[in-house]
Amino acid sequence: MKLAVISCIHGNYEALDAVLCDIDNQKAEQIYCLGDLVGYGPYPNAVVEMIRSLDIPTCQGCWDEDIVEGLNACECSYPSQLAEKRGHLAHEWTNRVIHPEVREYLASLPMTLRQDNLCFVHGSPNSQHEYLLPTMDGFAALERVLAAEADVLFCGHTHVPYLRELENGTLSVRVQQPGQGETQRQFTAPLKRIVNAGSVGEPRHGRPNATYVLYDTDTTQVTLREVPYDYKKTCAAILEQGLPPIFAWRLERGMEFAERAEDAGHVCER
């Protein structure tokens, strides 16, 4: 069975439309969405309506959560003070234009989705705000996959797609309890994988093209897809809607705004 996994659409309807066409051409049978449907982009309502109309299983992203709960991501989630101020502007705008039923839908989204040995999350199994960067310590990365009780963990949030294979994961545990001798046990984890779907609407790979992944459950093959689309339409809409023009400039260059903690292990404590 061929799955398509999309993430981080951020109100970019043009990009979503192009990706859905590509998924159709690739003949994927099931689509999963890893959240962040809204924020920064000019069409949050249209994006949510499209996802709902296609009945795409979706988990909640950090932006979706903030629109429901109020902006409360901790400040250390932002890479800079400038990014934080711009994030607040985007939040305020989105919060103002979002339809009540869209907000309700975002509130209803689960944190995690599952299909057999596959787990789907926005950031990590711990939090929508945690980044599983490709450079994350191998032990910590393995812990996240094991915590999800999955063989393949699909995530987004970083806006850069990647496939990470965690092979030969050997864990040694030494236990010494009062009054008892020391015991040592070793566990060997089977191959685990982390698949980051990148971003449909706000890529961070230096080009404006949308990204997503295909996964074949029979062959376990992962394919990272990069889809060109008419990003200039989105840029024009950003300006028309009164969002900061710098959002359009950065979108054109594949420089997204999403929050990105410097410490990959950081978990937002709000």
């Binding site: 890479p79 800079s80 003070q81 400038l82 990014a83 101020k85 711009r86 023009p245 710098i246 400039w249 950065r250 260059r253």
Partner: protein
């Protein structure tokens, strides 16, 4: 008799770099003048910080200083691209005229004006006399959030707020250091140079910092807002300074 040298050329051609090679020598009194921007000249401040033995001459004192120069003095007058080469000020004194020009520039007003030509950076000269705008602002006392500063410099030089051919500035960071930043369109990268001046870790720095942007269609208000959004509040600055003051040198090396 004092040696008077006037240097001109397009923005980014390397006038200040050419002058700087002579300012390293401390054997005779040297003066540096850069009229046209009042007290907001980044070059004036940069030369002052970099070569403390050189007397940098504020525009308002120019006439008085020139009237009373020591015999052995050398005066370097950086005549910006935006200033009139036919100015009476240049005609009144016996300036040696040096034009720092891009290698491919075969014909220009500078060719007719100069006594000698020095080959500079391969920058584009203004087309058909259509001069770019200059926007500058002092930033004295402002201290920048480093990643925000990095983002704004990338955006300004990348053309987010107009077509920028040149950008230079002096910026203060929360660890007390100040940096000179230099960008010339067409040359690789952006040069960041830490200034050899004392670290400022007590309140807002009381010394010159500022930015100068040269280009077409500059969105001045947007640049100014981005600069403001990137500067630290009093509370944030106090927190940083307390942190850096508490570090011993060994620990500090880890943060630099």
């Amino acid at each position: 008799m004092p040696h008077l040298i006037a240097i001109s050329g397009p923005s980014g051609s390397g006038k200040t770099t050419w002058i700087s090679q002579f300012l390293k020598h401390q054997s005779t009194p040297q003066y540096y003048v850069c009229p046209g921007l009042g007290d907001l000249s980044v070059d004036l401040a940069h030369i002052g910080y970099r070569f403390p033995w050189v007397q940098v001459v504020p525009e308002a004192q120019l006439t008085a200083i020139l009237a009373d120069l020591p015999e052995q003095a050398t005066v370097y007058l950086e005549w910006g691209f935006h200033l009139d080469l036919g100015s009476p000020f240049l005609a009144e004194l016996p300036w040696e005229r040096v034009a720092v020009l891009p290698p491919d520039l075969a014909e220009s007003d500078w060719h007719g004006w100069s006594d000698r030509i020095v080959t500079g950076n391969p920058v584009a000269a203004p087309a058909n006399g259509y001069l770019p705008e200059i926007w500058c602002t002092p930033l004295n006392g402002q201290v920048f959030d480093p990643p925000s500063l990095e983002a704004l410099l990338l955006e300004v030089s990348g053309g987010a707020y107009g077509q920028v051919g040149r950008m230079k500035g002096i910026f203060e960071l929360p660890d007390g250091r100040a940096f000179h930043v230099d960008f010339v369109e067409g040359l690789p990268g952006m040069a960041y140079t830490e200034l050899a001046i004392p670290r400022w870790l007590e309140g807002r720095p009381d010394r010159f910092s500022g930015i100068e942007v040269v280009g077409y269609g500059l969105e001045r208000e947007a640049i100014a807002q981005t600069l403001l959004d990137s500067t630290l509040s009093d509370a944030a600055l106090a927190q940083y300074q307390q942190h850096y003051q508490s570090l011993d040198p060994a620990e500090e090396a880890l943060f630099v």
